[in-house]
């Protein structure tokens, strides 16, 4: 693993202008991902994790827009590229995997046609070579009897197999970065485990950086090297996955980890740790630390001053407890 980050996000701010004022959905977040590294981005619905992913692949839906900050891929700034250039980059340098494999695949084309078209778009190869590569990709993502299945339509595949096809599509041009947004959420646990193992192996074998967006801490624990915990459009805590999950520093991470039912330690009629209240709406993000109204350890400073990410151990947490 080289030290130069493959992806660098700096002070990214995503806004939605509305008639009633501007909503800030992602508020000044910074992180980077090294080649071959899996960064997990975890948070509850509305925390801004998917928007961050969409901003990186240049698919932010208007009126959402990047209002400040920059995104660099291999040192080159990509957030201000014209749409045509971004389209070339997407698929070639950045691959994307979304939650629902059925909406990522065109039902009217065979899996092979979709793979070949993608390969021909991005790589300088002939049709025969593209088909060979498509076959090789299907085999690599673990589709049995790839020779027979390449000419089938998406509806002939099961959910887990479809997600494998989507991963194969994302891998077509050997991208340097894969943004995977909830890639296992629509799948059953036994299939989920297979897909996690596959993603992990691909990142390692190809030196691909992966940004894994999920709400599932279990998936993060199994897959990620580092994890960023997002809350209300900000990073609450970021650091090595073992440290953040086993010795969380930010009170939000502490609460989040406690609220996850665990197998084994679980006993009937024991209460789960519960974080009262809900994440604030974008229209009403509290001043200071966005988590302070729900935080059991808040003090005066939290209500007025917004904490920056502060180093604690090998991780960083945006909490005044460590200021």
């Amino acid at each position: 693993m080289s030290d130069a980050p493959l992806l660098e996000v700096k002070d990214l701010r995503i806004e939605f202008p509305t008639r009633r004022g501007t909503l800030v959905a992602v508020d000044g977040i910074s992180f980077c991902i090294a080649p071959g590294e899996v960064l997990g981005v975890v948070g509850e619905s509305g925390a801004g994790k998917s928007l961050t992913g969409m901003a990186i692949i240049g698919l932010l839906e208007p009126p959402g827009r990047i209002a400040a900050g920059e995104i660099r891929l291999e040192g080159r700034r990509i957030d201000d590229l014209p749409p045509a250039e971004m389209r070339k980059l997407r698929g070639r340098r950045i691959g994307a995997i979304f939650q629902d494999p059925l909406t990522s695949l065109n039902p009217l084309y065979t899996v092979g046609e979709q793979l070949v078209e993608t390969i021909l778009t991005h790589l300088e190869v002939g049709r025969d070579a593209a088909r060979r590569r498509a076959l090789q990709l299907l085999a690599e993502v673990g589709i049995p009897a790839a020779e027979a299945r390449i000419d089938q339509y998406p509806h002939q595949f099961s959910g887990g197999m479809r997600q494998r096809v989507v991963i194969a599509l994302a891998l077509c041009a050997e991208p340097r970065l894969i943004v995977a947004d909830e890639p296992t959420t629509a799948l059953d646990v036994s299939i989920q485990a297979q897909i996690i193992t596959l993603l992990r192996r691909l990142a390692r074998d190809h030196g691909t950086a992966v940004m894994l967006i999920t709400h599932d801490m279990g998936v993060i624990a199994e897959t990620a090297d580092r994890v960023a915990v997002m809350y209300a459009g900000r990073i609450a805590e970021i650091g090595p996955v073992r440290e953040v999950l086993q010795a969380p520093r930010h009170p939000y991470t502490v609460g989040l980890m406690g609220s996850i039912p665990k197998l084994g330690t679980a006993r009937r009629h024991t209460r789960l740790v519960q974080i009262d209240g809900a994440m604030p709406r974008l229209t009403a993000i509290p001043p200071g630390c966005a988590y302070h109204p729900r935080c059991p350890r808040r003090f005066a400073r939290c209500e007025s001053e917004r904490p920056e990410l502060l180093a604690v151990g090998n991780a960083r947490a945006s909490c005044w407890l460590y200021g």
């Binding site: 036994s190 709400h215 279990g218 996850i260 039912p261 679980a266």
Partner: protein, 330 residues
């Protein structure tokens, strides 16, 4: 307390006809095709306990829930509530079914967006004629909303003004408004964030203790189930493959499918314990494998498993449908 089970399923089964339309069958000679969504399912739910059904998509757990509350009719077998056969001619089934309610998975789809919350919660009260007048109804609705952790004033709002977790609280208030004894909860927290899920699970546990409720809890999440269940039934392709007390099931799962499910759960503790890679997928329920439906994915399958369907047989604190367990090979 009455020791008879509150709910009892005896060899319950439900088929769905998934044949092509009549014209295709006549012109193309396409055969009739029947999907056995639930087959030979028997279990009991004791008063005041929580029985959880777990399994992957398509295993029939939601169909069982719908059979019990009467959203689907049985194809085979029998369901008893409080000792009475729900389908028998002499039984007043609608009256018995008033004593059960259902909570659905998706709190965005299960509340009428055009109704105020107070009307949503009051509907069972009105249908069942439980309140003497408007004032009594209003007081009951306010009490129910407070009981699930909302404010009485929230009754004036519409569902879109609430978050997913709050909507699920409204669903629970509505389910409780008919004074049920038995709640069928079909994936009540699957659509919620973990911190909200914890709130709802805690609330359900509090309500059970306070109101003496009996739950049938349907979920695909074993960790959630281990938190709420007294007993657990594991389903695979329409059948119960293992039924056991929660403590025993999670400590020493017997059926290979139960073991596989537990192995597949991501390890939050990161103990680095090796995981058995899970092979294969759930087979097509229209053409289930012969013998034990799990045999194509089972590491312990032998000739008998491929030809003879195992029956649910008693094992320590529960039952399992597995030849290998029965023969002592496992």
């Amino acid at each position: 307390m009455d020791s008879r089970p509150l709910v009892r399923l005896i060899d319950a089964g439900r088929d769905f006809d998934v044949s092509r339309p009549w014209l295709n069958r006549v012109l193309e000679g396409a055969p009739r095709r029947v999907l056995r969504a639930v087959d030979d399912v028997s279990f009991e739910v004791a008063r005041g306990e929580t029985l959880a059904l777990v399994g992957e998509s398509g295993c029939g757990k939601s169909t069982v829930a719908r059979l019990i509350v009467g959203l689907y009719a049985l194809s085979r077998g029998r369901i008893e509530f409080d000792g009475l056969d729900l389908a028998a001619p002499g039984t007043d089934a609608p009256r018995l079914r008033q004593r059960m309610q259902m909570i659905f998975q998706d709190p965005y789809a299960s509340l009428n967006p055009r109704w105020r919350v107070r009307d949503i919660v009051a509907e069972p009260i009105r249908v069942l004629g439980l309140a003497a007048d408007n004032a009594a109804e209003g007081a009951r609705v306010a009490e129910l909303l407070r009981q699930v952790g909302l404010a009485a004033e929230d009754g004036e709002k519409y569902p879109h003004e609430f978050s997913g977790g709050q909507r699920q609280r409204i669903s629970i208030a509505r389910a409780l408004s008919g004074n049920p004894e038995f709640l069928v909860c079909d994936e009540p927290t699957s659509a919620l964030d973990v911190s909200v899920q914890a709130q709802i699970l805690n609330l359900m546990s509090d309500l059970q203790q306070r109101l003496g409720l009996t739950y049938l809890f349907i979920s695909h999440n074993l960790a959630v189930v281990s938190h709420v269940a007294d007993r657990v039934g594991v389903m695979y392709l329409g059948r119960v493959v293992e039924l056991a007390g929660a403590a025993r099931l999670f400590a020493t799962p017997r059926h290979p499918y139960t073991r596989m499910l537990m192995d597949a759960i991501p390890d939050l503790e990161m103990s680095g314990k090796p995981r058995t890679p899970v092979a294969g997928e759930v087979p097509n329920p229209l053409a289930p494998p012969a013998g034990c439906a799990f045999h194509p994915r089972c590491p312990h399958a032998d000739a008998r498993c491929r030809s003879e369907r195992p029956q649910l047989r008693p094992v320590a604190d529960g039952a399992a449908a597995c030849h290998a367990v029965e023969e002592g090979r496992l």
